[in-house]
């Protein structure tokens, strides 16, 4: 009788422990990284917020938010302001380095039509590799000095490479590597974290307020925001790379920007590109 009581008590205790574990895992579940669910929720948020905008049109930034601006953009595309940069990029891309090799030797498919696969996670290095970084590594591997990440040469090269990928859907992979998932999560955290004296996160403008004006500018939606890069900005009176875009955004919130191609910015690009998977590459773009 006593043995039965002890056994019953032990069983009850085990059952209680199992239930507690189940409850704990149910509570912990929302924090488990799930990029697929993130990307789905990200797209749903924007398509619900702007039901009239076609999914593939989000890559046109502020021009997708406002009918008048869309018309202006269509006209602007007849003689696009990034055309000079595109031509320069094509020439630079084909011009051999001093050792006779070219950029084509550094990239799969000779660098043509591959923009949609960048950034990618390099499992050997354990880090995110962006297109800008890969271009400079190509230069250095061939005895050339790297370009500035925020100036015209890099913008021209990436403009040409983006152009050869136009219309192809963004296709960023997260390999089965915990470091890749960590990089993705770091990028997500950076995107939503408030910084600077103005206490803004990237999301404050590009999730909470796309389509709204901040001074004279109409804010772009975060969905597909990198698909159009590099961009010609009338405000800059010139071309800008992804690095330049991140640095400028941080400065505008009165945060001291990080170094271009720092781990944080590379992870941010990884996150933002992944959640825009499936949307077409539209770069080089033009913005007010």
């Amino acid at each position: 009788m006593r043995v039965r009581t002890v056994l019953t008590s032990a069983f009850a205790a085990l059952a209680a422990a199992a239930l507690a574990c189940l409850a704990a895992s149910a509570v912990a579940a929302p924090d488990k990284p799930d990029p697929v669910a993130d990307a789905k929720a990200f797209k749903k948020y924007f398509t619900d917020k702007f039901p009239k905008v076609k999914l593939e049109d989000f890559v046109n930034g502020p021009y997708s938010m406002n009918e008048d601006m869309h018309k202006q953009w269509e006209e602007k595309e007849q003689f696009p302001p990034y055309e000079f940069s595109l031509e320069a990029g094509k020439e630079m891309f084909g011009k051999p380095f001093k050792n006779g090799k070219t950029y084509a030797d550094c990239f799969p498919n000779g660098g043509i039509g591959i923009r949609q696969n960048y950034p990618y996670f390099d499992e050997k290095e354990g880090k995110v590799i962006t297109l800008e970084l890969a271009l400079n590594r190509c230069r250095e591997a061939n005895g050339e000095a790297p370009y500035s990440y925020v100036k015209d040469e890099m913008a021209s090269l990436t403009a040409y490479m983006a152009f050869t990928s136009r219309g192809k859907p963004m296709d960023i992979k997260i390999p089965n590597d915990p470091r890749a998932l960590e990089a993705y999560e770091n990028g997500k955290r950076y995107f939503y974290t408030r910084r600077g004296q103005l206490n803004f996160s990237c999301a404050s403008c590009h999730v909470q307020s796309p389509g709204e004006r901040i001074r004279a500018e109409v804010l772009a939606p975060a969905l597909g925001i990198l698909n159009a890069l590099p961009i010609y900005r009338s405000e800059w009176a010139g071309m800008g790379t992804t690095s330049r875009r991140f640095v400028t955004c941080n400065s505008q919130t009165r945060a001291v920007p990080l170094e271009p191609q720092s781990d944080e910015y590379r992870d941010l690009e990884y996150y933002l590109s992944y959640v825009s998977n499936g949307l077409p590459i539209s770069g080089p773009g033009a913005r007010p």
Binding site: Y192, R195, Q197, S201, S204, E264
Partner: protein, 120 residues
């Protein structure tokens, strides 16, 4: 008995006089300090204020969360000190310290708060 009383009275008067004098002194000091402008900041005041601001900004940097306004405040403090204007230099350094502390608070609180904004 009356001798003792007289002596006690003299002692009482003396104590009251001393007390009144002290009160008058305190009131005078308070009046003067209220009416007069604050004393000018010295180089030592500036050094103390700048060191505190610099330490706070270093902590903000370790959290990857420096603000351009803090950096501008530190630069302005240095510039004013170099020109010998320690009032302005100390004021700028104190402002920079306040901004740096706010950026530390932001970085610390955002460690978890960023999740509130996440699209789920």
């Amino acid at each position: 008995m009356s001798m003792i009383r007289k002596s006690e009275n003299r002692l009482f008067d003396k104590i009251m006089l001393q007390s009144n004098m002290r009160n008058i002194s305190i009131v005078a000091v308070l009046l003067v300090s209220g009416a007069m402008p604050a004393l000018a900041a010295s180089e030592a005041d500036y050094n103390t204020a700048f060191a505190a601001a610099d330490a706070a900004e270093k902590e903000a940097a370790s959290l990857h969360n420096r603000w351009t306004s803090t950096e501008a405040g530190l630069a302005a403090a240095k510039k004013a000190a170099a020109a010998g204007d320690f009032d302005a230099a100390t004021a700028s350094a104190r402002k920079a310290e306040a901004l740096a502390k706010a950026s530390i608070f932001q970085a610390t609180s955002e460690k978890e708060r960023w999740k509130d904004m996440e699209i789920r």
